[in-house]
Symmetry: C2
Subunit: 359 residues, 2 copies
DNA sequence: GGGTGGACAGACAACGTTTTCTGAAATGGG
DNA sequence: CCCATTTCAGAAAACGTTGTCTGTCCACCC
């Protein structure tokens, strides 16, 4: 109500105005101790008059822990990350927490420093999302972080990344990369395709790309189609790079009848490249995506893809991590693998003619 | 290094291990006071050994203010919001701040409570983004919030909303809604269109929709085309609702030759609806969007739209608010209006035939 | 050699809460 | 009517920092 004159009101100000001690005010706020009706009213009145808001930091300092969930991702603009963020935000809000959010632009070093900041902040959970280069350095650093967060009463959550190993205090929420790719490539094979380009193998070896590539390879093997590494094309997970890489490839001649893109965004780039080279989808080339993100709804033809429950990933991450601290989720349940499923739309079709040869 | 056994190490622990006082450790960290080389080394060593991380809350409590920027939006999944968020995050990171993020799902009441939480957190700036119903209740509540944040050493920033009035301590970053709509509708008029449907007038009267609608109306007036309110169609800012509303309209008969959609997302829904009714864009119907967001890149035909510098909006918001506190931006410069410009692509074409009549 | 000042380090009081621990009324039972 | 018990309220000690206020020691100059 009253626009405070100078500094914000403190507990002491409220206490003085209500003519009680600070302890009493605190107890009215916490509501965990008997306070006489009359006194309570006076205190509430004073709180309103002074527009008092409790200082979170003082509270956190005394009471250990903060009402915060930290969320670290590559880029807020990514379509799938937005869904995860939404899930995280939703579940966090449901539990009266707010979200800290930081982006790393894919730089592992930046990720480390950001997590450090999050730890300083004393967030209740620190959620890391997105594939990563799974090397020894990463594992050892992440393991150290997991222990250090654990000691601070916080919890590390890895989304879309492999577990760090037994005894490491971290929650893991995975989704099936290998199975979805297997399903979608199998379908292409059943439709008669033999030369299937995999677009989006990450140069740096991100686990997401690796999992999907593994599904692609297993499907080929199971159908007795010899693997041809010249069909595995590297590209970043971006529309532009996908467009560029596939365009370059097409200029050199088309030696495939289908494209399995590593994400829907990559598929969007691929679709544009194919179109610009006069190729129709699915008549000339079949195309599949991965992620089933919202913006892909407007691609024409509509994309055959793999649905990944990203919102659920976000919700689960928060639920497991916070639930553990609050005793409602067991320590044994701290590793979830969410299922994915193929969504058949219009971008795939049976092979019409025998596969053309290169050149 | 050493995975801490129990509670996280404090300044006192470090001081003890290094055999110095807490003050000395603090000074090594702050680096604003002479400390002997030898002592400094010992302290740094102890910090590393104990994996010490300073407690942000204690720091904030003592030093007033936190390294945080709060960001309140409707939905993280919105395409334009993602860009603003990116701009905010980028500029905040550049200044060593981290982002708190909260969503409100468009509920003004929720927005109020969220801002309250942000204030408790002691964020350096609280950034509100997105159109709003500009009524008396909103203005008075927001004005109170502005004062209360100001008193706490924080700063309210309104993005894409009108200023609250003289003397209210708030930063405003607007972008031109009226002008962009004027430009794009003028172009349609020049191309011969007379029956132009405005799709996405907000039922609740959001300022964004209102501004764009005003531009639409002014363009019509300036070209001597009588306004026909039956051409102004309400729809939420979502793909699905746009699709539904336009489909319903088309089922009742087409009495327009062009559609001016209030956002690119709405345009995407419109495009789908038109396509499903056998109408080609731009041959049968011209279509324009607004926002020029990334995902719209994949619409076919490519959208004629209005570019809004959303990332710049986010960056400016942070720069102005934080710059004011740090004395690098003047109080007079706390109101920015960013320009928008038309981007002509393939979804608009000159009117081929005389406009059909309704029914 | 005494005085002056610079370079360093420690003690201690905040910051705004929460939570004991204590104490004073009020209440009730014998 | 007195003692035991309950019900409420206050004093004060934390929580982990930072900055101010004092010192101490040493070097240097006259």
């Amino acid at each position: 109500m009253t626009p405070a004159g100078g500094a914000p009101a403190t507990l002491r100000d409220v206490a003085e105005r209500a003519g009680v001690s600070m302890a009493t005010v605190s107890r009215v706020l916490a509501d965990n101790y008997p306070v006489a009706q009359r006194t309570r009213q006076r205190v509430l009145r004073a709180i309103k008059d002074l527009d008092y808001v409790a200082n979170t930091h003082a509270r956190a300092l005394r009471g250990r822990g903060t009402p915060t969930v930290a969320f670290v991702l590559n880029d807020v603009r990514g379509a799938s990350f937005a869904s995860v963020a939404h899930g995280v935000e939703e579940e966090a809000a449901r539990r009266g927490r707010i979200c800290l959010i930081c982006t790393t632009q894919g730089d592992p070093e930046r990720e480390l420093s950001v997590v450090r900041t999050m730890r300083e902040q004393g967030a209740g959970a620190v959620i890391l999302i997105g594939g990563v280069v799974d090397d020894a350095a990463y594992r050892s650093q992440m393991t150290a972080i997991a222990h250090s967060l654990d000691a601070s009463g916080s919890r590390l959550v890895l989304c879309g990344r492999p577990p760090l190993g037994e005894g490491v205090p971290a929650t893991v929420v995975e989704y099936d990369n290998e199975g979805g790719a297997y399903a979608v490539v199998s379908r292409l094979l059943v439709q008669g395709h033999r030369r299937i380009l995999f677009l989006g193998a990450a140069a740096n070896g991100s686990t997401t790309a690796a999992g999907r590539l593994a599904g692609y390879r297993r499907a080929l093997a199971d159908h007795g189609v010899p693997a041809d590494d010249s069909l595995v094309t590297a590209a970043e997970f971006s529309r532009v790079d996908a467009y560029d890489k596939l365009s370059a490839r097409l200029r050199a001649g088309r030696d495939f009848t289908a494209v399995c893109a590593v994400t829907d965004t990559v598929a969007a780039g691929a679709l544009a490249a194919l179109g610009d080279h006069g190729l129709r989808v699915p008549e000339d080339v079949s195309l599949t995506g991965y992620d089933d993100v919202d913006p892909a709804t407007d691609l024409r033809p509509q994309l055959t893809t793999v649905h990944v429950p990203y919102e659920e990933v976000g919700r689960t991450a928060v639920r497991l991590a916070l639930g553990l601290r609050e005793g409602e989720v067991s320590a044994a349940a701290q590793h979830a693998v969410l299922g994915t499923h193929m969504v058949i739309r219009d971008s795939t079709a049976p092979l019409a003619r025998p596969a053309p040869s290169a050149g």
